[in-house]
Amino acid sequence: MSMNVPKLLIAGAVALTAGVATAQPMPVPIPLPTPPPTPPDGTPPDGAPPPTDGTPADATPADGTPTDATPPGDAPPPLGSPPPIESVTEVEALPEPPRPPIDLPELLLAPSGAMLPAGVIYSRSGVDTSGGLSSDMRFGLGDVAEFGVAVTDLIRGREASDQTPRRMAPFYTATFRMGLAEHRLFRHQPALALGFRKSFEFEADNHRSRIAELHLAASGHVGTRTTVHLNGSFWDASVETGDEGAVLLHDQGLSRQFRIGGGVAVRAVEDADILIDYAWIPEFCFTCTDANRTRLRPILSWGVRYDLAPWAQLQSGVRVPDIGDANLLDAQIFGQLTLINRSIERVVDRRRRR
């Protein structure tokens, strides 16, 4: 994101300049005064004597070929001549500046502090070895906010504490985030994002569940190859079974709601990043005590993001749910395809240039 700001400013300046130039009236040529006629002996009109070796005063040979190294086209226009009109069309015909790569709003699971630029549509679809499918689609709003909907396969639930947790899917969520780009307020200010994610109600086996998460994420570049991400998440969840009242996570105290996460991305080769992140996901236990009805479980993920094209990235990696138990049997290998559509961003930029 650090590269985005100056380049966007330059692009904006060029667009504004072009706009101003287009709005100017056509310049009217100012007629020059007619020069006095040169005497036949070559004496300049200012009265200076002609050269003694017979060379003409303007050093032009007799055949009319200029001896000056400067080509005629590069000669400065005479004083008083209007600026060249073609410069206006040159500005209009400027090629679109190359668009800087986008810093993505999430690592593998953990949110990052980066926001999608205005008009950018981002989608990520994934599959994992446990048979789960996930998808996330977001839209950048005005460089300071983004909105998205997603379906996740990471939420799990179990009937009792001694049973194996089962996936609760499809679990739909909606996300709204707002934030600031890196270096926007001051130098070395990390990219900041305040996000809110809320699920739609999931109902299965006479249980109704919902989750909500508020996070503050910060991301900063360290050197040219590394980005560090840190976030604090504040969770809430609700579980209802049959006609029982809802059991809420926020009734269990702040210590059960707040978690720290984050990750690191390192550009290992020119077109791929190695990513490690640490995130939290709620897990439900439907017949446990109220205090244990919802627990936040840590997930450690690592993987590689590969730039297939400016608009596509392939990610794969490993995630270990409940890394606290070092449960290798529950480890999942996942693959994800990220697509980035910048058509709307381009259209908006073009209209701004006009």
Binding site: T129, S130, G131, A268, V269, D271, A272, I274, W302, G303, V304, Y306, L314, S316, G317, V318, A326, N327, L328, L329, A331, Q332, I333, G335
Partner: protein, 257 residues
């Protein structure tokens, strides 16, 4: 024996470097253990294998970003026994489709280090096992050496119906491998590897890793394909209990010759 091994190594080093270094020469496995190599460009490798006991397997591997290999595999590498000792000892393969993911880096010349996991596809209540490994590979002239460690976690239904689980912390075992491509046979590679694989028994006490040693030859007949012939010995098997196997491999895009 003490003198033979150093002599073999010296002879191998003295015979010069291998001529070809295509994708199948830097394959994802020696015979059974993983290597630390990844392909220098995005590529797909497929392999089909069978053995004289009627066993079969298939594997497809995608390498990308010069860092990662992902594969899908179905084979009988995991075994179960019941009973596990005595003259009536019976060992059978547990067919388990798995997926593997390996991240490899080449921080020094002609060498690489990789770490990866292999997990079962889907949820299989009867028997499942996952593996994590770290391996270092180094090329020394015509020889490629591989050494590392692996650990396994498993869960399966015991004789009494209860689930027997083995945690990865229960034991880390070494894995080693060797590939030697003699200069006079640049398309032929002699292979050998050793690793420990879990054997699922009817009780927790009988569930333990057992060594498996494999040796054989890889012949790269074409730029894009290879055939491997090998023999595998497992711990507690008699010599006649060894398994003879054959594997056909193909790579895309093919290697430049």
């Amino acid at each position: 024996m003490r003198r033979t091994v150093p002599l073999l190594i010296v002879a191998a080093l003295a015979s010069g470097a291998a001529a070809d270094d295509g994708p199948l020469a830097r394959g994802p496995t020696v015979l059974t253990i993983p290597t630390a190599w990844t392909q220098p460009r995005t590529s797909l490798t497929a392999a089909l294998d069978g053995d004289h006991r009627g066993g079969s397997g298939a594997r497809i591997t995608l390498g990308y970003a010069r860092l990662v290999e992902i594969d899908l595999r179905g084979d009988g590498e995991l075994t179960e026994c019941d009973p596990c000792a005595g003259v009536d000892r019976a060992v059978a393969p547990v067919r388990q489709p798995t997926a593997g993911w390996k991240l490899a880096l080449s921080p020094w010349r002609d060498g690489a280090v990789a770490a990866g996991v292999r997990v079962p596809l889907g949820f299989r209540e009867r028997a499942r096992a996952s593996e994590a490994f770290v391996v270092v590979s180094q090329r020394l002239g015509p020889v490629r050496l591989h050494a590392g460690a692996s650990t396994w976690a498993s869960a399966h239904r015991g004789a009494d119906g209860a689930t027997i689980t083995r945690a990865p912390q229960a034991g880390v075992r070494p894995l080693v491998g060797l590939e030697w491509t003699p200069e006079i046979y640049p398309r032929t590679t002699i292979l050998a590897d050793l690793q420990w694989l879990p054997q699922l028994g009817p009780t927790a006490a009988e569930t333990a890793p057992r060594w498996a040693f494999a040796w054989g030859v890889r012949y790269r007949a074409l730029a894009w394909s290879a055939v491997e012939l090998g023999v595998r010995h497992r711990q507690d098997d008699e010599l006649g209990g060894a398994t003879v196997m054959v594997r056909l491999s193909a790579a895309w895009p093919r290697a430049a010759r």
